[in-house]
Structure formats: C-alpha cells, structure tokens
C-alpha cells in the first residue's frame, strides 16, 4: 500500500496526542499529577494540538476536503466515519478537563469526571483509527489480531514519552511518567516484533487460480499486462518495497523509535537531566513511529495486485 504522508501524520500525531490525554486522565484519577493549575492546561493543550494537527493533516489525503463534514454521517457502518465522530467528541471533554483543572483544581470531583470522559474518548478514537485498517479484508498485514492492540500500545507509548518530556521540562523529575514510558516502550518493542514475525509467516490471501477462477489447468501465470504504464490501482495498491530496505528500516524504527526512547525514559526516571532526556526521547519516538507507520503501509500488500502478478 502506498504510504501517503498525510495518513502517516494522522495516525502518528493523533496516536501521541490521544496517548498523552489517556495518561493525563489516568494519572489525574490516581491523584498523581502536578497540582499546578497551569500544568493541566499546558499538557492537555499539547495533547489536543497533536491530535488536531494529525486530523488536519488527514484532510490533505482527501480529494474533496471541503466535503469532509459528510464523513460524520455513516457511523453505523464505517470505521472512518466513527473515527471522525469520536475525534470530534473527544475535544469538549478534554477542553473541559483543562478548564476545570485550572479553575477547580486537579483533584476536584468534576475535574475527575471530565478526566475519565477525556481518557475514554481518547482511547475510543485511537481504537476507531486502528479499526479502519484492521477491518480491511483485502490487506492481510492489516486485517489481523495485531492491528488494534498495536495501535493502542503505540499510542500509549508515544503519549507516555510525551508526558515524560513535558514533566521533565516542567519540574525536572519524572519518576512516574518515566517508568510508565519505559514499561510501555518494552510492550511496544514486544508488540512490533511479534507483528513482524506474524506477517513474515502469513500466506497470501489468494492465488492467481482463485483470483481468476481458472483452477482446472494448474498454476496460472501472467502473460500480458492490460496496460504498459502504471494506473491508480498499481500506484495505490501495488506499492512494493525491496526486502533489504524493509529489513533495514525495521531495524532503524526499532532502534530509534522504540529502544532509544525506552532507554532515555529510564535515564530520565533516574533523574539524569530529565529536561533533556525526556524531550529527546519524545523526538526519537515520534520520528521512529513515523518510520514504523511508513513500513506499516509499505509492507502491506493488497490482494488486488495479484492480477498484475505483483507480490500479495
């Protein structure tokens, strides 16, 4: 599948922003956030800026962005529509959470109700994003049991690293968010490694014999292409990446996006220059997740490419 940068930005930025809102909600319910009134506003607005930035980037993917509002209508059947509805509904509780934190305090009962609402809507939105991909039957690397948990884990991981960065700069010590970031980093490393092992062992969804229904003469091979140049189907669905590049990019994504931020989060937890190691961890995690998401698309094969004899 063609990795469109608008969609890569959408999924990585909203993942990090909503992950941050989830942790802020959880830590607020646990009474483990800085009580400074301004902290809530700063942290929540950073989370919403990431989520909003991703949503705006996704508009660039549309052929008719001026009609985007129509996407709110088909939530009964479409995960993309549900994502649109959920992301819009996630803003009021998060803004309320920030306002009440500022005016009523982080531990006020009303603040906590909105913290819970905000964290639930953040999780629901990330879940809807994941389901857009997980529900697509023709793409075996997406339509499997890894996609939904992976999106949630990567969102929680990048959100935790973002929180470590903010608190590192804000107060210099990050024992709780730093250890959460390190633990979720380990979970992300395990999840991504398991995903790659899984897709490497998958079998193609179809054969040319089943795709053409010509089953009685043994193997079917492509002879003549319908056209000599690329068309929409081949550009969008027939995207192929050389295996050696994929392996190199996998190592880069794992090292820069997952292992390095996990180590930096531990360094920050130990109190070593958290103002520096926290933000550095966040930058690396976001860059690494962008490469990870690029691979999530580039390594995904669409079964329709089989008609052109491309790998599926």
């Amino acid at each position: 599948m063609k990795p469109a940068s608008s969609v890569l930005l959408l999924t990585t930025l909203t993942g990090a922003g909503y992950g941050l809102l989830v942790w802020l909600g959880i830590l607020d319910l646990a009474g483990a956030v800085p009580h400074a009134p301004a902290f809530g506003i700063v942290a929540i607005l950073i989370g919403l800026a990431f989520a909003g930035g991703g949503l705006i980037a996704s508009m660039a993917h549309l052929g008719r962005p001026e009609r985007a509002w129509r996407a709110f209508s088909q939530w009964r059947s479409s995960w993309l529509s549900r994502e649109g509805v959920a992301s819009t509904l996630s803003f009021p509780p998060a803004l309320g959470f920030a306002a009440l934190w500022f005016f009523e305090g982080a531990t006020a009962p009303a603040t906590r109700i909105l913290a819970a609402l905000s964290l639930v809507m953040a999780l629901v939105t990330v879940g809807c994003t994941a389901m857009i991909y997980a529900s697509l039957i023709p793409i075996r690397q997406w339509h499997n049991r890894h996609t939904l948990p992976d999106y949630l884990i990567f969102s929680l991981f990048s959100g935790a690293v973002l929180l470590t960065a903010i608190m590192g700069v804000w107060q210099g010590h990050v024992i709780l968010p730093g250890s959460i970031a390190a633990a979720s980093g380990l979970a992300a490393i395990a999840a991504k490694s398991a995903y790659w092992r899984f897709i490497d062992r998958q079998k193609p969804l179809a054969t040319l014999a089943s795709a053409t229904s010509v089953r009685q003469f043994g193997a079917v091979r492509p002879l003549d292409q319908p056209h000599f140049s690329e068309n929409y189907i081949l550009r969008e669905m027939g995207f192929t990446i050389a295996r050696k590049h994929a392996e190199k990019l996998r190592r880069i994504a794992l090292a820069a996006g997952f292992i390095a931020p996990t180590i930096l989060a531990l360094v920050a937890t130990l109190g070593l220059a958290a103002w520096l190691s926290g933000p550095l961890a966040a930058l690396l995690a976001l860059a690494g997740l962008f490469i990870e998401r690029w691979l999530f698309f580039a390594e995904a094969t669409h079964v329709s490419a089989i008609y052109y004899g491309r790998p599926v």
Binding site: R70, S77, L80, A206, S213, V214, S229
Partner: protein
C-alpha cells in the same frame, strides 16, 4: 446510507457472465466502456498523457492475459457488483451505495470526499480514482444504457456486452434461475472470483474448456518428405532432392 440494503424478495440481481473460453482478449469491451462512460453517468473519465509514453487514466474494465500449461486465458476484470461489498460499508459519507432494487453498486460523486478507502476495501481492484475531480469512479453496469428508454430495446445492455465480437460477455438477472445468464452459469459451471474472501460477487466467470482437438504438429514448409505423401511422390522427392 452505506449500510447494505435489505434485499427485497424478488428483487433483481443484475450482473455479467463472462466466458473465459471464448474471450479473445481484444480489449473491445474496455474501449467501448471507456467510450460510453466518458460521456455517461460518471463523465468525463480522465486521461493523462494519452499520447505520451506514460498514458494514465480511469478505466472501468481491464483486460489481463494469463497462461497455464494447457492454454492461454484472456481475463476481463471489472466491478463484480458483490452481494456483500465492503467498498460500500467502509464509505464514511454515504456516497458509495448498493441499490436494493437491482443490486448495482454505485458512487454518488456529489457526496464522495475522495478518501479512497472504498478502493482499499475492494479485493478486485475495480474502483479507480478520478484525480481531476477528486472523487472515486467505478463500473455502473451502464445504468444509463440498461434503463435508457431512448435507446432501442435491443441496445439496453452494458456497452461492454454490446460490443463483444466473440459474444463472451452476457448481461442479465442472476437472481432469476430461468434467465439466460443463470442457465449459462448452471450449464457451464460459472464460478466466483476469490470466493474465499466472502464478498459474494454477482458477476460469474465461465471456465475455459479443455482442448478437445489436438492441434496437428507443426510441419516444415519445405524439404523432408511428409508422412502423407504416397510412395511414388516420396521417391520423386528423394531423387529430386539429391
């Protein structure tokens, strides 16, 4: 509504039956489809660089050729108007829909936001994106021909069917067991493409037949005495060949 419609009892299931035995791979169906539809329901169908070295454009029909140990098979590929089309249910706007009355899958290009998700949801690669207008387009089963009362009744069939010189394409109601197309499917063992994915395609493909007559071995155009010659001629041939 992008939820699938409840099929009314007795509703038609319009579709194509494509004979892989007699298709000669001439691309006439694709060309006539392009010709009709660039002035039809989804007009225009864009073309980029049509006369340069990388031509590109929206076509609703693509003609592949495959080979097997036994024979060559020409394979026209277009929308199959599936019974459970995921291209419809993933649509966030309601632009993509399946008609309850005849099962035709269409796009309302006035509602389409061009998110391309429907094309990702189609395992058959049937939908092509119109980059000029930013909307998705697809085979309409020539809805503007089959119901078109200004055309003579004999011409109320899809452009691809009307033009096929080897009569390899048939159009009709696959819900009616007595229709010509249903009988063809029953007689010839018409099959679904990728039935394992569960889309329930309506269009059916008739399997290519095995060769019944062995082709004679290739003969040399000159020289050697041929097995069919009588002895006298063979002798003359031998003498003259010295």
């Amino acid at each position: 509504m992008t939820s699938l419609p409840q099929r009314e009892p007795g509703a038609k299931k319009l579709g194509l039956v494509i004979d892989l035995d007699t298709c000669v791979g001439c691309h006439a169906c694709a060309v006539n489809c392009k010709e009709w539809n660039t002035g039809g329901h989804y007009a225009p169908l864009p073309d980029h660089n049509p006369y340069q070295d990388q031509p590109d454009g929206v076509w609703f029909n693509r003609i592949h050729s495959y080979e097997t140990e036994e024979r060559t098979v020409n394979f026209p590929r277009s929308c199959l108007h599936c019974e459970t089309p995921q291209c419809v249910t993933v649509c966030p706007t309601g632009a993509s829909y399946k008609r309850a009355e005849d099962g035709i899958v269409l796009v309302n290009t006035d509602l389409c936001i061009g998110c391309k998700l429907c094309s990702w949801a189609c395992p058959y690669g049937a939908r092509e994106f119109d980059e000029d207008n930013g909307v998705m387009k697809k085979c309409t089963l020539c809805i503007d021909r089959i119901y078109n009362e200004s055309l003579p009744e004999a011409e109320r069939e899809p452009a691809c069917v009307a033009t096929c010189p080897s009569r390899a394409r048939h159009f009709g109601d696959l819900a009616d067991p007595e229709s010509k197309v249903s009988k063809l499917v029953a007689e010839r063992g018409g099959a679904d493409l990728m039935p394992e994915l569960g889309y329930g395609p309506v269009n059916k493909y008739l399997p290519p037949r095995k060769r019944k007559i062995a082709a004679p071995p290739l003969q040399s155009a000159c020289g050697e005495a041929k097995p069919g010659m009588n002895r006298l001629l063979a002798l003359v041939d031998k003498v003259l060949s010295r």
